[in-house]
Symmetry: C3
Subunit: 451 residues, 3 copies
């Protein structure tokens, strides 16, 4: 059931320090755009409404907010201005209004929930998430007395004893919905940059005699992401969370620091993961699966007891059945491997279905592309496809059939048939020395020609 | 020569926090089951007897203890109970009895040796290994006065000044063999869990007027392994030891943190290892070998001056000769490469022997499996196997012979012969536009059909 | 314009702790020999002359100094003796003389510049670079009073209050050119090892009434490199510099700790790099390129909007055009890929030219080597090379042509032609069970034969 909460997500910032043509909130973290993490964290509170605030022309950001509505902040006049831009979308809303930033993917749902709950409990007009920092210098400081957030001193304005205060402003704020419009409207721009700062909502509230509070969260959740280096730091933080959760659930990782997970990677117990494995989004791994080193897996379901890698690549749309083996230098793309099927060495299976217990030889290519269309290869159960075969899709290889090594298969093979598509071997006795002499002479001539 | 030492290895713990169907002591570390590290560390003391204590039905653990005997602890009634279960196996034993845990793979032989030696020197009835910890809270504290280990205070019982004591109990214990039975029998279970704790042997000994001592070891050797995260931490600790030893011996690693060694990996000097190389157990590497990034090597011997990788996989049973080159996306399995032989690109050589100075072309597959048996390919010295060839084992390619590219070789090729197994090229001038038009139309039709 | 600076680079040390047949200063760091880093850092000062001091017989080191001259230090009699050996090469030189070590690759140009500038400003006969260390024990201490470097106390000679001094000697020194010969000649060898220490130039200068100064630099620039472990630490330090610079310039790295750069890797903005990518020397990457995990790239230019990997290897001499896709298990060697060309799966393209918009099928091999010579494959634009094809170089595949899958192409293919080189498929209905029975029987017989 949806709560009475409205959420405003500010995503109109320029992110110039990223030096990127891509909007900052769309840069990826753990396989998702940054903004999606914020949206998922917020979704856990089951808000009644979510409104995104975007910069003019930011179509990709608008799309990332869907199905939620967005409002355009026409000029970049500060965070208070941005939040105020969302107010018309919240007409009639009575409950609390959470204002959070689209570049704050590390703030956990639990922390946001505590803020909202504490604001309700304390009947505060405004509440902010704060954190204790060993190095508070760059942050605004929260001045709290007797449980009241009296004011927020901007970093540059901190004087004397205030500079020693280590309780810092995260920027995440919860406003009483009945007062939100009034508080945001009360923010002025009497400062050097002539911008409207969201943080000033606290001063507005206090000046009007309203209650304000601060709620503490862990500093680690409030790392700023303004450069590629900070993006990498956030990625590391997220990865550490994901790895710890996977290990808690019974996954062994030889070296957790070299396993890259997506936010939605899903493991059954007793999965083993070697060093250097990357999971893109959309992967589910069954019990007792052994994923060896140097694998890249995305958008795939791996059945229990399967053995993957080393050096395997499994691409989106693949379903790897129970007890399947996918070995080194093998690529699957949108391919279904039936129970117990094997492709152990150097193969490309694109748009293929391989029946249970079938064996795909080394060097086999399921040729899915002809320059114009993509076609499927269907291989029945209990088949044996010899090494270095090329299966020219669309083609069906029947159940229990045998394709001999080195064959090019262009027509369907019925069940239990043997298919060849290769030349008979010819052996010319004693000819190699002459061939070598010819090749040697050619190389020599070429070398001379170059001089 | 064996010493007079008996060793009891406790390996009956459940390890529930691992969330695994596999017994904790069999989880792998640096390529070996955890227990094997303990066994090897203990073996360096040349004990007269080793007895394992296992849980009921733990067949795999019993097998891991072989050739040493095991005894079953019938009920999980605590470590003291477990150690006592081993006593009948030590009948007639007079020397010291070391009790160590199967999940303590980081405790070095030197440290154990010191414990045993100090106990003998001090004529102690019981000695324990202790360690100083910056955060002693979770551990039992060793109360030592004038060289006497007076007692051990369990963590939860520590009071006042005791809580500040940073000398902690590791659990590793050495008992005087003549008293061991008596001391273990004296341990009671008057506690909340109604278990018999090995640590109480100290109290029993002291109460009977015997001498007890503590011997200090480094905290790093006593990390507990109770979860997958702690398993990963232990793996990291072992890897750091192994990497440091390899570098000391003259191995260059571009990034040591991304080289995963096995406990038995063996290097000659001047080996160079790029980033991301995994060594499974049983690898020996000769002098001046260059192992480039992204390789996976297990159960293989690499001869001097060889160049391996990047992206090479060498599987058990392979012997890579002097000056051999194994390049990218090449897999060797149980394959012998003679001196100076080369397989530089995309190849699978399974169950093959390649003679000295032979060249294996890109895309070559030694087809070792026919669905039922595994067969060998034998290639003589000075041969040239053309690209994309399939060698259907069992088959012999004679010395100095030449297999042309794209051939399927099913019959033996004599020495110095040239073997073909491919169709002659046919070229249809001007046909491509029509073919393209046909393929395009087919793709279009298919697309429409889908709608 | 060259400055009036002369530089003496000491590179005659034995480096025994490296346990290597290779001279220490030639061990690689970030893709360059260690010495090259020093030479590049020094070159930024545009010195009038550079002289290397080398050990007898160190041909490779002499070569690494080219085009600069070297002088041989005939006997290893210490750093002062080594520096003095260079003096004859500096006859007539009036400006400052910088003495730096060939194993000091981390000392930045800016730091050296500051030393030289401060020496000039202070009219010092000698100046040394120093650094503050939290653990100064192993270093000589700089005794500075009122801006004068009074003396340097060797670590082992430090007494009382001197031991607490944390200002340490880096060994890098700048001498007044007019006095350099005299100062170096004044150094004695009245010490245990009977060696001439460069550091004593300070004492000589002070005794003669000259001015001496110390200039502070960051400790991180003065890490010693005497073992493989210290080499790895220096590599890590360099990599962190290079990664930070790349991120500042607009490169995203999923996990910067697993991207290995060369000193000269060059990125346009908005490049994305997945985990585990190694760049050898000589790589330039265009804007918006997406390099996925597990790639190895060296000596190549990657055009804008290209997609590389995962698991791609690009070797020296390759030019990857704009919008090209190079996929998994693909190797390029000295290969040119025209705009929009694709080689997405398991292929080796050696010495090839691929025209714009052409598609190279999975498993294709450009067969460049015949055992004697290396030959080129030229593929025109808009061509389609079918999977598992072998193109036997030298060969030309004309523009707009189509090579069918599984073909071996030995003769040139004209533009717009279709080329085949494969056998027609034959299908033997119902034959597979008999074939399977035969293979099964063979395997069984073989197994029995082994017993």
């Amino acid at each position: 059931m949806a709560s009475s909460l409205a959420v405003v997500v500010l995503a109109a910032g320029a992110g110039t320090r990223m030096k990127s043509a891509k909007p900052k909130v769309l840069h990826p973290l753990a396989g998702w755009p940054m903004l999606r993490h914020v949206m998922e964290n917020v979704a856990a509170l089951r808000p009644a409404r979510v409104v995104g605030v975007v910069a003019p022309g930011a179509k990709d950001v608008v799309a990332a907010f869907a199905p939620h509505k967005t409002v355009v902040q026409k000029k970049p006049l500060g965070t208070g201005h941005a939040a105020r831009a969302a107010m018309p979308m919240l007409k009639g809303h009575k409950g609390p209004v959470l204002v959070i930033f689209g570049d704050a993917p590390l703030v956990k749902s639990e922390t946001i929930k505590r803020l909202v709950a504490e604001c309700a409990r304390a009947r505060a007009a405004v509440g902010v998430l704060g954190f204790k920092s060993a190095d508070p210098t760059p942050y605004g400081r929260l001045i709290v007395r007797d449980g009241v957030l009296e004011r927020i001193v901007e970093s540059r304005d901190a004087q004397g004893a205030e500079r020693a205060i280590d309780y810092c402003n995260s920027g995440v704020m919860c406003l009483d919905g009945a007062l939100a419009g009034e508080l945001l409207a009360g923010i002025g721009n009497d400062n050097v940059k002539k911008e409207f700062y969201l943080v000033d909502a606290v001063a507005v509230a206090r000046a009007a005699g309203h209650h304000a509070i601060a709620v503490e969260g862990p500093e680690a959740e409030f790392q700023g992401i303004n450069s590629r280096a900070e993006l990498a730091a956030a990625e590391r933080a997220l990865q550490q969370r994901l790895r710890a959760a996977a290990m808690d659930a019974g996954v062994t990782m030889t070296d957790p620091d070299t396993v890259w997970l997506a936010a939605d990677t899903n493991f059954a117990p007793d999965v083993t993961i070697g060093p250097n494995v990357r999971f893109g989004p959309g992967v589910t791994v069954g019990a007792n699966v052994d994923i060896r080193g140097f694998c890249d897996i995305e958008g795939a379901r791996i059945g229990r007891d399967a053995i993957i890698g080393p050096f395997a690549r499994i691409r989106p749309g693949s379903l790897v059945g129970e007890d399947v083996h996918i070995g080194n230098f093998v690529e699957l793309k949108a391919t279904v491997m039936g129970k117990g099927a094997k492709a152990n060495h150097l193969a490309y299976l694109g748009d293929a279905t391989v029946g249970a217990a079938s064996n795909i030889g080394a060097g086999t290519i399921a040729v899915n592309y002809d320059g114009y269309g993509k076609w499927r290869t269907e291989i029945g159960a209990d088949s044996f496809v010899g090494s270095n075969s090329s299966l020219i899709a669309p083609v069906r290889i029947g159940r229990g059939s045998n394709v001999t090594a080195g064959s090019v298969i262009t027509s369907d093979v019925p069940a239990n048939a043997v298919a060849f598509g290769r030349a008979r071997q010819e052996t010319k006795k004693g000819r190699a020395p002459a061939l070598r002499a010819k090749l040697k002479a050619r190389a020599l001539k070429h070398k001379r020609g170059k001089k």
